[in-house]
Symmetry: C2
């Protein structure tokens, strides 16, 4: 059974004084009003971590009651930072089953009331325990991916910096036109360069902000102008170091393949997209994973203006997570709200795209391991004859299998990527240098570098000394005067 | 599209040294093996609060990876203590939509590693904030319902005690025959009476234990011997005091009505049931809400042996939450695993029921506000002609609407029910007497009683003094010598 959208709503994203349930009620009310509904048959509620952010469990029930829909079945859905998209997918199947006619999807998160250190700790819980215990945060892992991307595609540090700045500048520019965005100011390259380093090479302006907000969509089995034409969902290894690729996300590629197949569309059919840019480089990687551009070439499209608001394939017309803001549970659904605005020609004079009949949203859960791709179309879109349709999207998908933890090994390894983290979670000193090291037995391990004052001396693909200390891997530059004996002194002085 | 069950699995419930993901892997492996599957198209994962119980977010991804199913779409579903049933329902629609052939439902919780006080606090987060701040716990609210039930149906304190003991004794007896049960010892009435008071009139043996465990079911669109014939889901007010009834759960009645309608079955067609007995009285109320027995008469069926293992309508042949144990996320799915065991004649010589072609499970989320009812049948069951089928289940459903918080009021109120809580959450003194008081304006408020040494002097339906103190309602017996002036002294002495 086909599934359609009959209403959408969202709050302004940003710092809010309202409670989470009040924000969600605001978003839901707009959607219900647009759909001319007072009741629905079920509520699918996306909140990533109400338990720790607002201290509540049983949130699905609370919301049904707060909305005045007491009695209505209400289910909470969670897929880490793609939760909004996960709730949408879950609701899609409920309607597609024919058991329900009208379903409310509602997603939100409240984060700004906590300290940044606490928020960072809560967000870090999506990271595999074995990597989290090194002090790895989401920006730290994203930074290691950025380093690897630059290395793999031969981008100089300055070139990488320029690419990242361009994403931030473009998305802030788009966000400045979006009344729902957290940041409505344009930024310059100078602003970008002045912003503080969070995890080398990622700056504050490379990271989506901490945000409060809610978004909502009504799904229905009755035809409306907007049809859900494709949904795909895939996971990847919990630990980043177990991946087969550090410069693309298999989970996005698999999810995209399923969505394109369901929609019988190819990447070239997509006219615009919202692409999860929790970190600037993720937008570039996303446009490659989605088949819009070849691997390593997404940044060229950005340079050429293709992904700009007036380009051939606008990416994140909303401003993306970067500028619209990133209430973790809400973002995946807010992307779809933006697509509906565009498809209905209601994105506002300045932001409205000319070609807006087919849009795609790509949402990332965790560090790229619970991803969803959703395609929405105008129902009146001229359909090309689909007889014998064959996809032209054939991504290189190599899903990794979780490997058993390697035995502690010492000796020489190869530094595959690294970062120096300046915004460390509670309990970790700053700066903290972390790397992924390939052992002599071919295993990939996370390791920290105690010589934290000189991270710039580290080079990828170079041999390093690998030791274990209290079950933690430690790596250091392999030099003629081996400084191993200094380690313990050095770390206790700073501890 | 019809949905069938092709495999089930569960761990032994109890205190486990294994991690949550290892227990869940064990449960999933059995189910996958029985279904002869190595892959599924999606995983629906029920965990109520992995964030606070085990400190992990993004648990759906971790499990897909741990199971060796890296890449498989994986979604976490949560509906408080009915989470296992909620995950099952969500997966049901995914298969019913025709988009998926084989889906893994997996539910679990790990709780025993934390202190009871901490576990109590975490579990209390499912309670509405406005009631939680009085120190109300799940047993406290259940105890108030038990008091009200006894009052409404004219049961003396001794009679109520006898009924509750009978539920505990029956379920422990059933559990003693269940190799998966946490408690495998039978208990006597003497044991019951010796068990400590948790929240008057509920004793330790009235409350389901704190448990580790996992359960799993494979749903498929391909016909198998077990068919999912009915599912219903409903919520109720977040706050207990906003309910229209304190002696039944509207959410169970609504969910049951939907499930019976989908299955085209009546309560009299059900041959056995698993009924959420987190507190002994909830089993009695459940059998009434499900239409098995008239309101206020469920306990008679128990006395007459109707709900015993060898009776006409066995309730909780597994031992129920009481004896099998209650890993909050897993219980709703474990109930369904038991039903499948019974329907397949695989419940073991001592526990196997003779009539086992149609079974029902009723799961309660929160304090009766996110409930699901699921009906499973043998596919080879002789179908009665359904032409012109009409339900004979017409429960009295009166869903409440959330009322605005009443302004603080003082004066005289009526004490509708109360309890004295001995196992208080962190930060509250013990014992703590709580009550629901109807104000002169007809509002129901929660209130605490500072004269905590003499709770037995309190009587329901009697007038009490109602005051507010720092935004908290306080009630006291209305006596000629008004003791209001003693309040502040009394409470500071004990504080």
């Amino acid at each position: 059974m086909d599934v359609y959208i009959s209403g959408v709503g969202m709050t302004k994203f940003g710092r809010s004084k309202e409670s989470l349930e009040k924000m969600m009620t605001e978003a839901a009310s707009s959607a219900l009003e647009e759909a001319h509904l007072e009741k629905v048959e079920a509520i699918y509620l996306g909140v990533m971590n109400a338990e720790e952010f607002v201290g509540d469990s049983n949130f699905a029930t609370l919301l049904a009651d707060t909305l005045g829909l007491t009695g209505t079945p209400s289910t909470r859905v969670e897929t880490a930072s793609s939760t909004g998209a996960g709730a949408f997918e879950t609701a899609f199947y409920a309607v597609a089953s024919g058991h329900m006619k009208h379903v409310l999807v509602l997603a939100g998160e409240k984060m700004t009331h906590l300290s940044t250190a606490k928020t960072t700790r809560i967000l870090s819980e999506v990271i595999d325990r074995s990597e989290r215990r090194y002090g790895a945060t989401m920006p730290a892992l994203a930074a290691m991916i950025a380093q690897k991307y630059a290395r793999e595609f031969n981008l100089s540090p300055m070139k990488l910096e320029d690419i990242l700045a361009r994403v931030a500048i473009k998305n802030h520019s788009n966000g400045s036109l979006n009344p729902y965005a957290q940041f409505r100011k344009i930024i310059t390259k100078e602003d970008y360069l002045k912003s503080q380093m969070v995890a080398f090479p990622l700056r504050l302006y490379d990271c989506a902000p901490i945000t409060d907000g809610a978004s909502s969509i009504i799904l229905t089995s009755q035809p409306t102008p907007i049809r859900v034409s494709g949904i795909g969902h895939a996971t990847d290894t919990a630990a980043v170091r177990h991946r087969t690729s550090f410069t693309s996300f298999n989970s996005t590629k698999e999810a995209a393949q399923k969505a394109y197949t369901m929609a019988q569309l190819n990447p070239s059919d997509i006219q615009f997209a919202e692409v999860h840019d929790a970190f600037t480089l993720f937008e570039i990687i996303g446009t490659e994973d989605l088949g819009f551009f070849p691997p390593g070439e997404g940044w060229k499209a950005l340079e050429e203006g293709i992904t700009h608001l007036q380009g051939r394939l606008p990416i994140n017309p909303s401003g993306g997570l970067k500028a619209r803001g990133h209430p973790v549970g809400a973002s995946g659904l807010a992307q779809l709200v933006e697509i509906v605005y565009q498809l209905k020609g209601k994105a506002g004079k300045e932001r409205q795209l000319k070609r807006a009949e087919v849009g795609l949203a790509s949402s990332i859960g965790g560090l790229g391991n619970n991803n969803l791709v959703t395609i929405l179309e105008r129902s009146d879109r001229t359909q090309i004859i689909k007889e014998g349709w064959r996809p032209d999207y054939h991504p290189d998908i190599r899903v990794s299998q979780k490997k058993p933890a390697p035995p502690p090994s010492e000796g020489v390894g190869i530094l595959k990527t690294f970062t120096t983290l300046y915004a460390t979670p509670e309990g970790f000193r700053s700066p903290l240098t972390l790397g992924l090291v390939e052992t002599e037995t071919g295993e990939m391990v996370m390791a920290c570098n105690p010589d934290y004052h000189f991270p710039q001396k580290l080079k990828m693909e170079k041999k390093v000394c690998l030791k274990t200390r209290e079950g933690i891997y430690v790596f250091e530059k392999l030099t003629p005067w081996n400084r191993m004996k200094r380690w313990f002194k050095g770390s206790s002085k700073s501890g």
